[in-house]
Symmetry: C2
Amino acid sequence: MSATVGLALLPGVPSVPSGYPQPDAVVIGAGSGGLTVAVGLSSFGKRVRLIERAQVGGDCTNVGCIPSKALLHASALLGSAQPNQLSPVGTLAHVRRRRNHLRDEETSEFAKKKLIDLQFGTARILESGKVEVTGDNGATELIEAKHIIVATGSRPRRIPIEGLPAERYLTNEEIFEVEEPPNNLVIVGAGPVGLEMATAFRRLGTSVTVLEAAPQILPAVLPEAAAVLHRRLEADGIDLKPGMVAKRFDPAGNTLHVGPLAGGATGRVEDVDAVLVAVGRLPNSEGLGLEELGVETGHDGKVVVDGKGATSVENIWATGDVSTKGATTHAANAWGRRIIKAIVFPIAPAGKEPEHPAVTFTSPEVATIGVQPTKVPTDVRRVTYDLAKADRAYVDEVTDGIVVVDVRRFSGKILGATIVGPRAGELISVFSLAMKTGTRFQKWYGVVWPYPVYAQALGNVVDQFMLEHMKNLHKDFPRWLFGRLRRS
Amino acid sequence: MSATVGLALLPGVPSVPSGYPQPDAVVIGAGSGGLTVAVGLSSFGKRVRLIERAQVGGDCTNVGCIPSKALLHASALLGSAQPNQLSPVGTLAHVRRRRNHLRDEETSEFAKKKLIDLQFGTARILESGKVEVTGDNGATELIEAKHIIVATGSRPRRIPIEGLPAERYLTNEEIFEVEEPPNNLVIVGAGPVGLEMATAFRRLGTSVTVLEAAPQILPAVLPEAAAVLHRRLEADGIDLKPGMVAKRFDPAGNTLHVGPLAGGATGRVEDVDAVLVAVGRLPNSEGLGLEELGVETGHDGKVVVDGKGATSVENIWATGDVSTKGATTHAANAWGRRIIKAIVFPIAPAGKEPEHPAVTFTSPEVATIGVQPTKVPTDVRRVTYDLAKADRAYVDEVTDGIVVVDVRRFSGKILGATIVGPRAGELISVFSLAMKTGTRFQKWYGVVWPYPVYAQALGNVVDQFMLEHMKNLHKDFPRWLFGRLRRS
C-alpha cells in the first residue's frame, strides 16, 4: 500500500463514537462505482468508510452483468459436446452459485482491506461532511469525513401491467432467482437487458416473446444495425414484436393482451408463465438527504456531476447509475476513477471526458461508441461495411453483420461506431482507444491486422474511407503542390 | 475505377505477341501478396498481367489460413447443439467444399476484372522488364512491363523421416485432402501450423502426438505464454513432446521412434497412421531467374526487400513469403500495399514499417506483436497479467490466460505484447493500432473498456503499469515542481 501522497492532507475533524477509525471519505454504496472509489482512495492511503444497504457488488455482481453474462455463457454450452452437461434447471442453479461465489469473495476481500471499513446499513447525508448510518438493528451512527461519495446505483423501472399477478412479474432483480425456466416468457423492453435475457432463456428452451414500444429493437442503436440482430434473434426462434406494449393480463388462460402504445389491444400471447419487465432504470437518489442539501438532480432524478464527478455541493461526489454520467459498470468505474483523481490530486485538471462504449452480449454482440444520428450530417462521412464480407466471417460461416463508422469528413475525427458481429465487444475497444487518444481515422491506414480475425473488418472500413479520401486527393494534389511551389 | 494518377506514366514499350493487352506490371503469383498488388494497381488504372502456376488464392486460400480456420471452426461444432450435425468425415468434406467455393469465387472474380489479365503458366524473369511465361501446353510468351512483382510464396520444408512411406507423410499441402481423420496422427513441429492442426484433429476424434525439437511448444513465444497453451492442449488430450524429434519409422507395427535432437531414439509412438510435418517454410525463389539477374536473396533464400518492397534490382519488387518481410497473409498484404504505393506515388516516402501481429488460432488463441526477449532489458518494464483475473474470464469460466506487455520505462513506448486467451487475435489489434500510431502506453490510461469484455484485461495491464509509473511520480513530483518554481 503506497503512502499518503501529501497533496491533499485533511484538516483534523472531531472524532465520532464508532467502532471504526475516523475516515477520510464515506462511500455510500458498495457496487461497481463505490468499490472503485473505495479501493482507489485506500490505495492512496485514504481511510474509507464503505456503507452498503444490501449486498457487496451492487447490481452488477448480484442482479446484473455477472449473472447475466454467466447465464449467457452457461446456456450457450447446453447441448454442446462439453462433459458434465448441465440441465436447464442445473444451469440456472450453476449461475447462482457462480454469482454467489464472486459476491462472497468480493465481500471478504473488502472486509479484509486495511483502510476500507465495510459497514452494512442505510446512509443519509445530514450536511456536508456528515453522514448518518442506520444499522439493521435501528441503531444510528454519525460519521464525519471530508468527502462523501454517492454511489447508490439504480433500480428497475416497474411499469404496471393490469391483471398480472405479482409472482409472474419479474425484473432483473428476480429473474436470476427463477429455479426453473418458464415455458413461456414475455419480455417487455427490447433493450440490452431484455434481449440478453431473451437469448439466454431461449437457449434454456423457453418460448420467448419480446415487446418493444419503439418501432425497432435496440431503439438506441442505428436501425440498420438493430436489423442485423433482429434477423438473428428471429432465426433463433425468438418472437420479436416492435411497436407493441403490454396492455393487460387475463389470469384465466394466462393471456397477455398486447397492442401499440396508442390504442387498444390488437393481439395476445397465450399461456404466459412470466413477464420480465426491462424498460429502463430509476436512480436511487431519494432518501439520501440530497434534496435538502441542495444537490442538483436532473429531471430524471439523476445526480448532476461534472467532469470530475463533483456534484453541485462541495466535497459531495457521485458516480454510477445514480449520476448523470453513468448507466453501466464501466461508466461507474471510469467516473469513480475521476473522483479518486480529483480527491487525491485536487489541482490536476479533470482531463477530456472519455467516450463510453456499450455492448449488448447477444449472439452476435452489438457494440456502440460515440454518437451516430440516424441521418448523417453533411460534414460527416459514414462508412458502412458488411461484416459478412470479412474472411474471418467466411471461415466461421457468419453471414450477417455490420460495421458503421462516422468520421468527420476532412479532419478524420472519429465520431462514433457501431459493430454487430462476433466479438464486437472486443472490436469496439479499438475505437475506445482511438477516440480517447484522438487518433484520427486516416492514421489507421497501414495498420496490419492479423489474418484472419474480425478486426480485419476495421481495416476494410479504413480502406473504404481512404478510397473516398484519396479520390479527393487526386483532385486536391495538384492544387496543393501548386500552392507549395508558389510559397517556396 | 479511378483514372490513372498521372504521377507515374510509363514510357511506351514495344508490344509483344499476346492475346492480352500490354500491361504496366507483371505480378508473378496469385496468392495473398500477388492479388493485393494486382487489385491495388488496377484500382489506380494500371493494367496488370497476373501469372499463376497452380491455383488462385495461393497457399492461404488453398492449403493455409482458409481451410485451417474453416476446419478449426467446423471441428469445434462437432457434438454441439447445432442442427444438421456433421460427422468427422463430413466435416473434412465440408471444409474442402467451403475452400473450393472461395477459390472458385476468387478465380472468377479476378478473371472478370477489366484491368487484370489472369494467365495460368510458369514465369521466368529474363531481364528487367521482361518476363517469359510458359503455358501448360509448353508455348511460351514474352511479356514486357516496367514493373515485375515477385509473389511466388513458399512451400513446406520437408525433412526426411527414415522408413516413413510417402503416403503417410503429410504437410499442409496434403492434410486438407485427407478424407477420413486418422486414428493416430503424429505432428512434427509445434509451431502455429502444427498446433492448429493438433487442435482440429483432436476435435475430430484423432489421437494426436506433437513433437517439437525446441524445449517448448511455440518456440517463438515467451515461455510463460507457451506454458498456458501447453496446459490447455494437454487438458484437451493432446500429447505434447517438446525436446523430441522423429528418428525413424518402422512400417511393421507402424511405430515412430522419437528422441532428442542429439542422440538416438528414447521413445516411440505406436500404430501411427500419418505424420504431419510442419517445421517451417522454404521460399519459392528458385527458377525465376532472380539469381541470374543479381537480385539479392538472404542465406535462407528469401528475396531481400526494403521498406517499399523493392528488391536490389530496380523495378523488381517482392512481397509475401518469398520475401524477407513476410511470413503471413497479412504481411504479404501489407507489403503488397507498400509496393502499390511505391509504384503509383514513386516520390512518396515508404513511411514507418508497421509491426506485424501473429496469431495462432488454437483454443485459446495466442497472439503476439513486436519483440519480447525472454530476459527483460533494464530500460524496459514488463507487465504480466493473469487473464483469468478479468471478470469476463470469470463469467466464461476461463481459468488460464496471460497478457505480457513490454513498455520502455520512461517514454511509455510499447515494444511488444503477447496475449494467450479467448479472442486474443482481436485484442492484439489494439496493440497493432497503438504501435503503428506511436500511442504511448500511459495514453491508454483512462480509456473506458466495455464491461465485461476481455479487452478490460488491457485496462488492468495499463493500471499495473501506471501504478509503477505513479510510484515514480510521487518521488519525482516535488523535484519537478521545485524545478518549475525555480524556472518561473
